[in-house]
């Protein structure tokens, strides 16, 4: 659990983070969204004390983050900096091994961990561990940056626009991977982005920042249905809000009784993709199957559009 209490930061009298109070539950993904210069990076860097707050406190599992020397605190908290920040003179393997070797892990344990992480990020250890960062693509560099942040099995992971350099397809893949990894390790993740789409996709909770203040802290569905301020409303946009909502809800929640012809849709697919499937196939209805292949019922174009129109999908 991370408890941020009335946190402020000013540079030369200008407040860039104002009076932020947030409680972040363990094993969740919290995404900080906001326009450029709204203070997202500053807020994130106060958690591992790369930036010292002007006032206010941060507690990690009940313990003030100033009770440890800064460098020891930072070895416990994973941090993927804006841009990958890999050490250019060290190999991928050495980069990932940075924190474990600072912590004095044994050689064998470090090697095992490096290999595990590279495999997890779909980079073949034999091929990638000995390479230098400049021999990787931008996307691979970013994955290594995240792997380095995860190396010492931190409970908390701070990520500053980790998917900034990725094209949309790879980006979606990386986001799915991150969710899977978070589930796998049970890490508490705090991620900064200025992309609302990304926030909705990843977050358990979204904190929207505007001019240094957190103007709304709520689950994605609430942000979409009840934007607290005009700023939040502009950030989520109005035209495609129904579709964004649908992307949060599963097909399983919109199943109607009855049968239909055509390629079956999985109950775990999100409703937005299911709608696209219906429109593509030109059918009014498609069968829905459970993970074990059992037919649960059908999904209809009429039923889905009605949900979108009311903006009242049941988010998972």
């Amino acid at each position: 659990m991370i408890e941020i209490d009335t946190l402020c930061k000013s540079y030369d009298g200008v407040e860039v983070v104002r009076d932020v109070t947030l409680t972040i539950q363990p094993r969740t993904i919290t995404v900080i969204v906001g326009t450029s210069g709204s203070g997202k990076t500053t807020l994130l860097r106060m958690i591992n004390r790369l930036v010292e707050p002007t006032s206010g406190t941060i507690k990690l599992d009940g313990e003030d983050n100033r009770s440890l020397p800064g460098y020891e605190l930072r070895r416990r908290i994973g941090y993927a900096i804006q841009g990958h920040g890999l050490f250019p003179h060290r190999t991928v393997g050495q980069n990932i091994a940075t924190v474990p070797s600072l912590l004095g892990w044994s050689k064998a344990r470090i090697t095992a961990r490096v290999n595990e992480l590279l495999t997890l990020f779909q980079l073949d250890p034999a091929a990638f561990a000995p390479r230098f960062p400049h021999e990787l693509s931008g996307g691979q560099q970013q994955r290594v940056g995240v792997a380095r942040a995860l190396a010492a099995e931190p409970n908390v992971l701070l990520m500053d626009e980790p998917f900034g350099a990725l094209d949309p397809i790879i980006r979606a893949k990386a986001q799915d991977d991150l969710k899977a990894i978070q589930k796998h390790f049970g890490t508490t993740i705090l991620l900064v982005t200025h992309d609302m789409e990304e926030a909705i996709r990843l977050a358990d909770m979204i904190a929207v920042m505007d001019k240094g203040c957190v103007v709304q802290f709520a689950p994605p569905s609430e942000i979409l249905t009840k934007p607290a301020t005009d700023f939040v409303a502009t950030l989520i946009g109005t035209s495609d809000r129904p579709f964004r909502l649908m992307s949060l809800a599963k097909v399983g929640d919109a199943v109607e009784p009855g049968s239909a012809n055509g390629l079956a849709i999985a109950a775990s697919m999100n409703q937005r993709d299911a709608l696209a499937e219906l429109l593509w196939s030109g059918r009014q209805a498609l069968p829905v199957t459970a993970a074990d292949g059992r037919v649960l019922g059908r999904i209809t174009l009429e039923g889905l559009t009605a949900r979108a129109g009311h903006s009242s999908g049941h988010p998972a």
Partner: protein
């Protein structure tokens, strides 16, 4: 047609047709008589050497493979080196120990022309650092073999050497100690100073400006400035004169070389550290490195090639500059240069100058290769 080849051929033609190949003097201080290549070397070797050199000079003119040019130029240089040794034997009358035979302008021009051809070929081949060091080693061994074989013994410079072999090696030792010692001192002091300048911004301008000013003081003036303080230390600090500190001699020479060395070391340390990517430094902090770990694991390794470049500048500069130590009784190869100037004995000047140039050249090649190697890894 090769553009540089035109220059090389023109130089070689001028040297072969107009300039004297060697100089003959009845003794070491009288003016010499110029001797052409054909008269300097016994027949029929003279004709063979001439034909070979003309052929290679003409080869330089046409566009051929780089390897062929390299091999040809090396052959030409070896031929030149052997020919000058033969000239010395041929021209010196039997049993005459006063006569002096020295290379003349023609020899030097030819050497320059073919060295140019070799360097050009080497540059175009872009050999990896290891190969360059190997080439340097082979060259050094070749020269050593020539010296050992005695084929150059008739040359004036080696006659100067043979009469003062013991003092020659002693002065080489002093020379190297002065150059390397002051470099070591400048590195030990300059590196931390550069670090401080990097961390403390206001210090940077002050330090670099002061070092710049020192760099502009002529060496003679610097020696003059050092006499008083070092003399004072020698008389007032117990034990100082026992370790060799004095107003004149090796101590002020060492201090002067050290002061001249500081600027390149400090400036390159500052530049190198400033060039370390900000993201890498930030990430180092972010993963929990302490100040010291950041410095030793990230900043210094990344700045190392630039710092090494500063050390290369200093080493080459110091090997040359150490000659002036002789002006104030500090020893080194400058002793022969200044003695030679005083006695108008050119051969003695060369005995000091040629090894100095050779050492500076070798140091430059060696460090350039090391720097390239380090850069490749970074």
């Amino acid at each position: 047609m090769d553009k540089l080849g035109v220059v090389i051929t023109a130089l070689a033609a001028y040297a072969l047709l107009i300039s004297p190949f060697a100089t003959f003097r009845a003794n070491r201080i009288v003016p010499g008589d110029p001797v052409g290549l054909l008269n300097a070397v016994a027949t029929p070797v003279n004709g063979l050497v001439l034909a070979l050199l003309i052929a290679i000079a003409l080869l330089a003119l046409v566009k051929t493979s780089v390897i062929a040019r390299l091999v040809a130029s090396v052959v030409a240089i070896v031929a030149l080196c052997l020919a000058i040794g033969l000239a010395a034997q041929h021209l010196t009358p039997e049993g005459n120990s006063y006569a002096r035979v020295a290379p003349a302008s023609g020899f030097w021009l030819l050497l320059f022309a073919f060295a140019l051809m070799a360097t050009d070929a080497l540059t175009r081949l872009q050999p990896p650092p290891g190969v360059r060091i190997l080439a340097l080693l082979v060259t050094a061994l070749g020269i050593a073999a020539l010296l050992k074989s005695g084929s150059w013994d008739g040359l004036s410079i080696l006659k100067e050497y043979s009469t003062r072999a013991a003092s020659f090696w002693r002065e080489v030792g002093t020379h190297v100690t002065l150059a390397l010692g002051s470099l070591a001192a400048a590195t030990v002091i300059g590196l931390p100073l550069g670090l401080l300048c990097h961390r403390i911004r206001p210090l940077r301008a002050a330090v670099l400006n002061s070092l710049n000013i020192i760099q502009t003081i002529p060496s003679i003036a610097l020696f003059g400035l050092l006499i008083a303080p070092l003399g004072w230390i020698a008389t007032h600090v117990p034990g100082a004169s026992a370790v060799g500190i004095a107003g004149i001699g090796a101590a002020p020479a060492f201090v002067a070389l050290f002061l001249y060395s500081l600027l390149p070391v400090v400036a390159n340390t500052v530049t190198g550290l400033a060039g370390v990517p900000q993201a890498a430094v930030d990430a180092a902090r972010g993963v929990g490195m302490t100040l010291w770990q950041r410095l030793t694991k990230i900043e210094l390794p990344l700045a190392f090639p630039v710092i090494l470049t500063g050390i290369r500048i200093v080493l080459v500069q110091n090997i040359g500059l150490a000659t002036i130590a002789a002006l104030i009784g500090g020893g080194g190869l400058g002793v022969f240069v200044f003695q030679g100037v005083g006695q108008t004995a050119m051969d003695l000047v060369l005995l000091g100058a040629v090894p100095t140039v050779a050492m500076a050249f070798a140091a430059a090649v060696l460090l350039d290769a090391i720097i390239d190697k380090v850069r490749m890894q970074a």
